[in-house]
């Protein structure tokens, strides 16, 4: 026990490590905030950079960047309606309307505190229950991932805005965009028209930046004369009462975040969207409707995506299996530093596990501190006149799209989808479902094929598999219940019950 504590406290007590975690978290927040600059990229660059370092400092810096980066994505989502990272898409849905009402400061405050809370829950689960969570996560079969993806597709209902039909259309379009490129399972080319540039598919970050960033800039051109939104800043840190009010929701969202984060193959982006959908379902009467600046719409995704950080470390530390793309790179980093991440790491080098837990805790604390400072300066962005704001958004979008893969092709895609997104918005299509479709496309497509192939291409066998596995059955029932709950039949039943 004392040994564990000693290892957890290493980053807290060593000034060098402490400042590296701080530096990492600080730069992570800004890397995360710039669309296109991703944590994955930053951490992989750090591998070469920290090559000659000892393993502790290298890990400290990477963890700081990871924690800060996941949080940082919310900044631009709230202020500019451009999610800095895919895991902040849900944050934009209610965060940006809040900023437009002059409550950007409050939105950032809630986001920061809730991210801290989610991070804390994620780390706690990692520290206390890692082996059992990873044993559970690894049991997910292709059919379970498929059902999870179907569950995700149903989020279209929450993201559609006014017209469900238009939402479904947008979602289907996203699924199609996601299937472009070389099929990784069969190496067949899909919708590439024989072009090598298309073989890699369309970067979905480019789609995201275009759809949110450029279309936002174009929409704002309609109201050039309107001055920037005056921001009122009286309360940044939410009161204890507010936190207590959202406690049940944030605990549930954290649970979603940890599990989805721990699943190899899904990460913070899907966790945040699922938590957002969950919030819409459990919140009976929000003070402000969802999509117009509901606080619940910030609380849920932000706790979930930071809880997913701890979650992603669970399979990595216990089995050497990455929980997401960042932990995949960290596994590589551990190898380079002479460690062997795998099932034996926890047995042979438990100190590494506790050191990482310590770093995560410290990074989480720094995230809270850095997140809550400088808000007054940041919200000035929203107050800027349109003539400054629009070029700023376009510049950020172009730099971001280029940075994804250092390729101009992505910039063209981004601009194309920006214009498309603008017209879609003009005609009342919401863009959330498009991004949702792109994110889920591979998950659904690959796992459906794996599932049916595993069952020798027989549908009865697949169904048999679903009803005999408790996990698959639960997911299957969840899909059915959520689907029915959105149909008129359900609301009729509910009305009968209450009357």
């Amino acid at each position: 026990m004392i040994e564990i504590l000693q290892n957890v406290l290493i980053p807290f007590l060593d000034l060098k490590l402490l400042s590296l975690v701080a530096l990492g978290t600080f730069s992570g927040i800004y890397i995360g905030a710039i669309p296109g600059l991703s944590v994955t990229m930053a951490v992989s660059i750090l591998i070469s950079f920290t090559f000659s370092w000892d393993v502790y400092p290298a890990i400290s810096l990477m963890i700081g960047i990871y924690m800060g980066g996941v949080y940082g994505g919310s900044r631009t989502a709230i202020l500019l309606n451009i999610p800095g990272a895919p895991s902040a898409i849900a944050t934009a849905l209610d965060g940006f309307p809040m900023a437009q009402r002059g409550e950007a400061g409050e939105a950032i405050g809630i986001t920061t505190v809730m991210s801290f809370f989610g991070g804390l829950i994620g780390i706690t689960v990692l520290a206390l229950a890692a082996p059992s969570v990873s044993a559970f996560a690894i049991k997910f079969q292709p059919r379970d991932y498929m059902l999870l993806a179907v569950l995700g597709i149903l989020l279209v209902g929450s993201l559609s805005g006014d017209s469900l039909v238009k939402g479904i259309f947008a979602g289907a379009m996203g699924l199609m965009i996601g299937s472009i490129g070389l099929d990784p399972l069969t190496m067949d080319q899909r919708f590439t028209f024989g072009s090598t540039a298309m073989m890699g598919g369309i970067s979905f970050i480019a789609v995201m930046i275009g759809m949110f960033g450029v279309s936002e800039a174009l929409i704002q051109l309609h109201s050039m004369k309107t001055p920037g939104v005056k921001q009122v800043i009286n309360r940044i840190v939410p009161s204890f009462g507010t936190i207590r009010k959202y406690l049940p929701l944030s605990l549930q969202s954290s649970a979603i975040g940890v599990i989805i984060g721990a699943l190899p193959g899904t990460g913070g982006d899907i966790a945040a969207l699922m938590a957002y959908d969950h919030a819409r379902r459990v919140t009976k009467d929000p003070e402000v409707p969802f999509g117009q600046g509901a606080r619940e719409g910030l609380v849920a995704p932000e706790t979930a995506n930071n809880a997913a950080v701890g979650g992603a470390f669970i399979p990595m530390m216990t089995l050497g299996i990455p929980g997401d793309s960042v932990t995949a790179i960290m596994i590589g980093a551990l190898f380079i530093h002479g460690l062997h991440p795998g099932p034996m790491l926890m047995v042979e080098q438990p100190h590494m596990f506790w050191f990482i837990v310590g770093c995560l805790m410290l990074a989480n604390i720094f995230m809270l501190i850095f997140g809550l400072t400088g808000i007054k300066l940041f919200v000035k962005v929203v107050e800027m006149p349109r003539t400054v704001l629009i070029p700023l958004i376009l510049l950020l979008s172009i730099v971001g799209a280029y940075a994804v893969n250092n390729s101009l092709t992505d910039v063209y895609w981004m601009l194309g989808f920006g214009v498309l997104g603008y017209f879609m918005r003009l005609y009342g299509f919401s863009l959330g479902p498009v991004i949702l479709g792109v994110i889920l496309s591979r998950l659904l497509d690959d796992n459906w094929r794996r599932a049916i192939i595993s069952d020798q291409e027989s549908l009865p066998r697949l169904l048999h598999g679903i009803v005999t596995s408790p996990l698959s059955l639960t997911l299957f029932l969840a899909v059915i219940v959520i689907f029915l709950s959105k149909t008129p039949l359900w609301s009729m039943l509910m009305r009968k019950k209450t009357s």
Binding site: S48, L185, H340
Partner: protein
């Protein structure tokens, strides 16, 4: 006369120019064919700092992914042959032509160093009802289509190992496709698939930790990193003719790069690959160090392409015959 003289001076100037400007006079761009965190990425990021030291220049590494590495390869082949763009790749491009993924491969490049090769290994989930290769074949024959093999698409290591197995004893199993051996090995540990042909480096920690078990090492000699793993030739010597075979990691520049630049890079990576911590990393992950360059590397690549292209051709996985591209039969 004057014109002639001028031409001669110009020509002289042009030929001596590369020698005057000391390579590298600016940053070198390193393009990694595979994503961050993968084995190609790890190997290249581990060796390059040592090579930089020997070269006295800096190499900026960048992952360009997609199209099983074709996008990265095309980027370098479309650039200048001046040594300022290096391709860090794996074995895949040698199959692009037969798989219909492009018309360029390593024949359009000069190998700087073929660093190491991986050793294929057949692993199974720990509770699979067989422990050795003959037992596995017997079980598969008794239960057609029941055993689930992981695969990573035609042309990948699992497809080649399966082609080898099929060449000796045709097997009737279900192939479940994954996008890489990492996700497939994860699925194996969760029981979604039963057997996976993987590269030793990806499976070694799982085997040591007991989350998967070895069926056979596809090599002619035992591995130092995992000495207790039985080789396939110890039970089925007929595989000896096809082995050793394995995926590899190589450093390349575009064909036509000036000889002095190639020589400098070759020396740098040759030196880098000798670094103790790099060798330790490779040994620990079960890769066999090769560190070959020049004609030796070219011969290795030609032989690899001929063996593998014809193996997958005979297994019926190709889109075009290797004969169409003048790839000789082994």
């Amino acid at each position: 006369m004057i014109r002639k003289l001028l031409g001669a001076t110009l020509a002289l100037g042009l030929t001596t120019l590369p020698a005057l400007a000391e390579y590298p006079e600016k940053e070198i761009q390193g393009i990694i064919q595979w994503g961050a965190g993968g084995s190609t990425d790890t190997v290249m990021r581990a060796v390059t700092p040592h090579a930089e030291k020997a070269l006295g220049g800096s190499i900026v590494m960048q992952n360009v992914t997609g199209g099983v590495g074709a996008i990265a390869l095309n980027q370098v082949v479309n650039g200048d042959a001046d040594g300022y763009q290096i391709l860090f790749g794996a074995e895949n491009p040698l199959l692009y032509k037969v798989m219909g993924l492009g018309d360029k491969d390593y024949n359009d490049f000069t190998p700087i160093n073929v660093l190491a090769r991986g050793v294929p290994i057949l692993v199974a989930r720990p509770d699979a009802p067989f422990n050795t290769y003959p037992e596995m074949i017997a079980y598969i024959n008794a239960h057609p289509r029941d055993v689930k093999f992981g695969s990573t698409g035609p042309g990948g290591l699992p497809s080649v190992v399966t082609a080898m197995i099929n060449q000796k004893t045709p097997i009737d199993v279900t192939f479940v496709p994954y996008d890489g051996d990492g996700p497939a090995l994860t699925a194996l540990q969760g029981g979604a698939i039963d057997v996976m042909p993987a590269v030793l480096g990806a499976a070694i920690e799982g085997i040591k930790g007991g989350t998967m078990k070895t069926i056979a090492l596809f090599d002619v000699e035992a591995s130092e990193a995992l000495p207790e793993a039985p080789t396939i030739v110890s039970t089925n010597p007929e595989f000896g003719a096809l082995l050793p075979w394995g995926p590899f990691f190589g450093v390349f520049v575009k064909k036509g790069t000036p000889d002095d630049v190639v020589a400098k890079l070759t020396a740098a990576y040759g030196e880098g690959a000798k670094a103790d911590d790099f060798k330790a990393l490779m040994d620990g992950r079960g890769f066999k160090m090769m560190n070959i360059s020049g004609a030796e590397a070219q011969a290795f690549l030609a032989k690899w392409q001929s063996t593998t292209a014809w193996l997958v051709q005979d297994a019926g996985l190709t889109k075009a015959s290797p004969a169409d591209f003048g790839i000789p039969k082994p």
